[in-house]
């Protein structure tokens, strides 16, 4: 199996790459480094990435940004940053990536617990996560029998606790092994349209 991991150099991405690379052929796509580079907020950049990678069996996305700010400081533009990057970036990985996937190949997107259990300053970030959850449930109805699409939504991951703990009071850190298992379930399993929630 050949797996393209977009955002393979990030906090979660690194661990996901380490696991999959033990068992499969892995291609890393990063913004500035990796086997291929990509700006997921730009659909042409995504198209160019796939033209370089050629056909793969699985696409995993652990990339995408959204603005964290108190609601009354979020500008309209701030919301559109999330729409372009974490939201449409991931949608475009499905739209464009489907043509570079083997039959029943999978796309695995990434969101997070904010969709269901947000914290302050996440009106935009939570929104983008919730959007992707509903998108995944809907899109598979139009792609049945062609490709699989799932999303991994985890709580505050252990490797990010130092940086983000103050923003997530009382949230239980999620061991990286559990996070990896979420991606395994999507890539190595047969499910589609699943929101794989890893909140405890």
């Amino acid at each position: 199996m050949k797996i393209l991991i977009v955002g393979g150099n990030g906090t979660i991405g690194k661990k996901v790459v380490t696991y999959f690379a033990q068992n499969y052929e892995v291609l890393i796509a990063g913004r500035n480094s990796g086997d291929v580079t990509v700006d997921i907020s730009n659909s042409e950049s995504i198209q160019q990435m796939f033209e370089k990678t050629g056909t793969v069996d699985a696409i995993v996305c652990v990339a995408g940004e959204a603005k964290w700010k108190p609601f009354n400081e979020l500008s309209e533009e701030d919301y559109y940053l999330g729409f372009k990057s974490k939201l449409m970036g991931q949608v475009n990985l499905v739209r464009i990536g489907q043509h570079f996937l083997t039959k029943n190949g999978s796309v695995t997107l990434t969101t997070g617990i904010l969709a269901d259990d947000p914290v302050p300053m996440t009106a935009s970030a939570a929104m983008v996560n919730g959007a992707i959850h509903s998108f995944v449930k809907a899109v598979v109805l139009d792609l049945e029998g062609q490709i699989r699409v799932n999303v991994v939504s985890s709580g505050l991951v252990e490797d990010a606790v130092e940086k983000y703990d103050a923003y997530f009071p009382g949230h239980n850190p999620i061991p990286m092994q559990k996070v990896i298992n979420g991606y395994r379930k999507s890539v190595e399993g047969k499910g589609t349209g699943k929101i794989i929630k890893i909140y405890n």
Copy 2:
């Protein structure tokens, strides 16, 4: 109580207006008609609407569009239509409307069952609904003690069955009285951050 109902001339809006007008002062905002006109996809138009209405005790939105198309026919632009109208239109009613609401006044948004139980051709429409659900949960954390924000998410409403039944096979039509009760709960109740689901 003075209630502004945006989209008060629509299928759901008409019934919501009929109920609230029996008990309160109601202002209807419509795209082309009503006590005030507004294009919710344009934040300046929203600002102008509120300058005309002045302070209100409740804002109810039953307006907003998103594109219905098979996933492989949805262009990037089609998604942005939903972002501008049903998504940011409703976000902007909170952003701008909060300054025209009495203390603990409410904003009631509208989504639908697609967020949780989509049908084909709704990758964009479902996404926008899911986005608003997570937005509502998050935004109230930043607005606590200031205003209330809830969303009514109903299934296929009885008054729309004739037009949409074929798209929602097996979905139980929701009696309009139940739908109205959802809006009552938000406006007349004290809850905030609630996704009021009326799916049966």
